[in-house]
Amino acid sequence: MIDKQCKSAAEAVEGIKDGAVILVGGFGQTGEPMDLLDAIAARGLRDLTIVANGGGSGEHGIGRLLAAGCVRKLVCSFPRVPGSVAFEELYEQRAIELEIVPQGTIAERVRAGGAGIPAFYVPTGAGTELADGKELREFEGRTFVMEHAIKGDVAVIKADRADRWGNLTYRLSARNFNPVMAMGAELTIAQVEECVPLGGMDPETIITPSIFVDRVVEIPGGVSNG
């Protein structure tokens, strides 16, 4: 019997290594897998690369991972919001590498990583400093930027419901980056509000099919920054 359910966040994040590239779902606090990130921070890992939309805020989640000194590099579109204290401190001290990527390009690069597409072209960023050093190419008279796939060693995401195979649904805009990150990593770990019996989810309304999910942990409520 397939059973991807773990008993705790700690068990769910076992095996992640120093130096791992970790894809993190969420947009602001919405859909951020705080408990899994806290569990990673508790492991005291080092030199992680975090790929996410933002740089976290408050003392849980990405914020905790940053404050705990686990992160060498942050790849994101919008590192700071009010409350991004840990990030701001590291940035001021030049104690973190930062790669700013347009939001849609992050999503597409991670999807490409999951889709077996090593590179693709976008108009986004052409003619701006974010295209500096990137390969440019014209198609039909317009300039495009070549972007490379991002592949995660691990994805940590938050979903609403799961079954023991790892099929997932999300709550409204808490969906955001989560299904995208789920596709892009070797090991995808989801914290969910509720586990339901196999067959308890309508096949038509599953957003992340089980093939993309390796571990599930039920954490009703979960910690939050606010």
Binding site: T30, S77, V81, Q103, A126, R171, L172
Partner: protein
């Protein structure tokens, strides 16, 4: 000097120009005020890059947890009938693929050729942050900028050439300020509306690029808000 519109009035005025049936993305800051002041009796579908089509201002009675549904500025919103949810990659298909009719964005500078700078202030100690601005600048069918005509230091935001790092070249179609509505055209910047009591000369003095007044220009007006 004539009084300009408030931010709410600017947002209200921009809203009047959105045709029924338009799909409209609102950037953070003043653009999001358009949601509050959208014209009634007209179906406009507001897109948020975090995977929402059909948002409306937060209705506290909708039973949705504030953290489960936000706009691009991470503020709680609600849904209209006909709304749809999707993930970030699909959301940016809509943006990059030219499916969004209008992106409303803030600006530090807009050049007469439509170049937009709105994401980074060199020399700022804070980290740069681009969000979806470059995707919107590159992908939306129309980019409307909404911003004060001049910065806090009085410097014009409408310029011949952007001196700040670009968000996108040649992206902007129209500019809504507290003083005027200006089209970016192949023939330069054309004032379609301006505060009635403000002369073109005075408006020009507040601007960093040459303006021409449209035939049939109209007074820029908005109700008290």
């Amino acid at each position: 000097m004539a009084d300009g519109l408030t931010r709410n009035q600017m947002a209200w005025r921009l809203g009047r120009d959105i045709a029924e049936g338009s799909y409209v993305n609102l950037g953070v800051g003043i653009p999001l005020l358009v949601l509050e002041h959208a014209p009634g009796g007209r179906e406009i579908i507001f897109h948020s890059e975090n995977g929402v089509l059909g948002m409306k201002p937060k209705d506290e009675t909708d039973g949705i947890l504030p953290d489960d549904l936000t706009n691009a500025g991470k503020q709680p919103v609600s849904l209209v009938p006909g709304a749809a949810m999707f993930h970030h990659a699909d959301s940016f298909i809509m943006i990059r693929g030219g499916h969004v009719d209008i992106a409303v964005l803030g600006a530090y500078q807009v050049a007469e050729n439509g170049d937009l700078a709105n994401w980074r202030l060199p020399g700022s100690p804070t980290a740069p942050a681009v969000g979806g601005a470059m995707d919107l600048a590159a992908g939306a069918r129309n980019v409307w900028v909404i911003c004060e005509h001049n910065g806090r230091d009085g410097a014009p935001k409408i310029v011949r050439e952007c001196t700040l790092p670009l968000t996108g070249p040649g992206s902007v179609n129209r500019i809504y300020t507290d003083l005027a509505i200006i089209d970016v055209t192949p023939d330069g910047l054309v004032v379609r509306e301006k505060i009635e009591t403000l002369s073109l000369e005075d408006l020009q003095a507040l601007s960093g690029a040459p303006l021409t007044l449209a035939n049939g220009w109209r007074p820029l007006e908005a109700p008290d808000l």
